[in-house]
């Protein structure tokens, strides 16, 4: 049987992290193919329900990537993202989702390699956890 390839959904802000992923592309820095991005204007746009929805719809891991603290294109949206991340990380286990399946990090527009590293690290981390198996339960709680 083929090795389990975890599906990772990453919400990335338009100005830093999406651009960082673009740069990784420009430099042909290959990373796990199951990492797929959803562009939002700011990491502050990420509603915790988006994260839950991604898990519900089959993601094994979810990331929120924004501008480094102090560099937010919208001043402090990433700070909001961080506050929400803290709360959500503590709530996830109550839904049977290991908090390691959720990651918040910062990738600047120039940080192509950092993007690649984070994408691969997250994939390895979630691969070690195995597939997420609580879909029915989460669907009831969140949908």
């Amino acid at each position: 049987m083929a090795e389990f390839e975890p599906k990772i959904v990453a919400f990335v802000c338009n100005w830093c992290s999406y651009a960082g992923a673009d740069k990784a592309g420009g430099q042909k820095l290959a990373y796990a193919a199951q990492v797929k991005l959803v562009r939002v204007m700011c990491s502050g746009r990420v509603d915790p329900l988006f994260v839950m929805d991604a898990f519900r719809q089959g993601a094994d891991g979810v990331m929120v990537l924004g501008c480094h603290p102090g560099d937010c294109h919208y001043r402090a949206g990433n700070k909001k993202a961080q506050q929400r991340f803290r709360i959500l990380s503590r709530m996830l286990p109550q839904f049977g989702i290991e908090s390691d399946r959720f990651r918040l990090d910062w990738v600047a527009a120039g940080e192509a390699e950092r993007f690649q590293t984070i994408a691969n690290e997250m994939t390895d981390r979630v691969r070690a956890l195995g597939p997420l198996r609580i879909r029915g339960y989460v669907a009831k709680e969140v949908a």
Binding site: A21, A33, V38, G77, K80, Q116
Partner: protein, 647 residues
Amino acid sequence: MGRPRTAVFLCNCGPNIAGAIDLDIIAGQLASRQDVAVVERHALLCSPDGQQFFRDTLQNRQVDNVVVVACSPKMHEKTFQDLAGEAGINIGHVQMANVREHCAWVTPDKATATAKAQLLINAAIRRSLISENLEQRSMEVNTDVLVIGGGLAGIEAALTAAAAGRKVTIVDREISLGGAVIKTEEVAPSLECAPCLLAPRLAAVRDNSNITVLTRAEVTEVRGFYGNFTVRVRRQARAIEPSCIGCEACFEVCPVTVPSRFHLGLGTHKAVYTLFPGSVPAAAAIDKSACRHFTDGTCNACVEACPFGAVNFDQPDDESEFAVGAIVVATGFSSWDPRSISALGYGTVPDVYTLPEFERLASSNGPTHSEIRLRDGRAPRSVAVVHCAGSLRPDAIPYCSRVCCLGALKVGELVRKQIPGATVTNIHHDLVLTTPREQAFYRRQAHEGTRFLACTDLAAVQVRTGDHGIRVEGPGFEPVEVDMVVLATGLQPAAGTRELAGLLNVELDADGFLKPDHAVLHCTGASLDGIYVAGCAAGPCDLPTAVTQGQAAVGDAISKLMPGRRINLEMMTSVIDADLCAGCRLCKAACPYKAVSFDRERKVCVVNEAICRGCGTCSAACPTGASKARHFTDAQIHAEIGGLLHG
């Protein structure tokens, strides 16, 4: 109306996409989808030929939505949005699936890349099916400019705007314009005479009918937004009417002497005073905290002495409100006070001065009328200049102020000009001289006799009373004993910068200066549209930089605010559905721009879409779904998530 018709364009991007992803398979699958009406493929869709093909196809095929499967939206979203617009499709209905940067270039295996591309395209199609129109809204603007701070940066900003025919108001809290440059005698490295440099610029401000100068004044309130600010300015009465020409007749009869801030406490002025002859405005002002008319009502001397009847003790403070389109912050800096580091001897060892104080002693408009003198009236025979006093250390100023080295080099020049045979020793570590002209200035000073002693740790320098004068010692150099010590102190944000930034709703950087909108591309823009920053308000800089920034800030401001032209507003703003809003105000707290307000009557929150920048942070905070981030709606993002996870 039936189901929306979606067109999908596949771009080969030469070999870039077609070589890494099997577009034949993709095209085949798309052709069989119910929700896709048109599938087209092109070798290079962004080429002139490709663009024509794209537009023509959209015109001929009657579609509602477009998905462009190509490169990053950061490359060409605008290109295809504009073309779609020309073909009559609202730009809100154009989506890009970024299969180049996010798939073809990062997924070496073609089958894997093809599978990933399918999901990326699927997500874009699903998203496009529920896309909504984006409307370009625009607004009339006020083209006048407010300049806060009338140092050289502010003066040049005002003159630039006025030259373009704009009405400008300069607000300065001092009693006259000029800022720091007027306190120096010569401007290095060119050694231009500072007062001569400034005088014609001040006259130009005074004589320009487009410029209004408000002194002893501060901005107390700012409302509105880019193109439509309303500002409130409070002006303290100077008790002297504008008919005063600054003839100084009243100075002679005024019985009260006060330490002069302009002379940094090294000299005095009367309770009725000007900063220097030829100031703009010319009118004197009365220091009400010292004047005997105001303190005990016993004196009227100036009223009697004034040939113009200009003294008016009853002049009220006034407040005015006016509209401007853009605001330039040019509030300059304050100098670091060395009292907090006792090893530097300042305030305890006589004849230890700061660099700005030394500049006052050397200035023709200074307390000693440009005679460099010790406190006992003698001319110093030897002077030591300590570089980086308080700089580059976490307990004082953690950064380098960039201009102190230049100022410190002037000491030798000014001392030798006046006191033949006097020695000047600069105790330094780095010498921050950033242009060939500054370096040439340094070489000249060294050649003409300034001695340079390199210290290995300026934070360890000690200044104290020695046997034959003031002793300066530290690691890496032989101790010196001199008559006078000058501390090259660094530059800090002007007092009140934090409060002003709060009024303006702009950000400060880690050191407390105004943060640029973009450090490279828009360094004279502050972090809010329509607010600019120039000169030392943005961080320590030399005069040419301050002047250039003042001109650049205004150049940008006036080219964006043109009389008769409207400005376009952000399209992807958030909007709140009043029917769904519960009035909880979480969105208001989340908004980084204060764009959300609470309507007390209707008990709902409202977004001011002229201020909103479209980050969507409020929408994420909204518990009822009332706040919608245009083009990034909850529904669109949920559709995209589903599309990425299910083929």
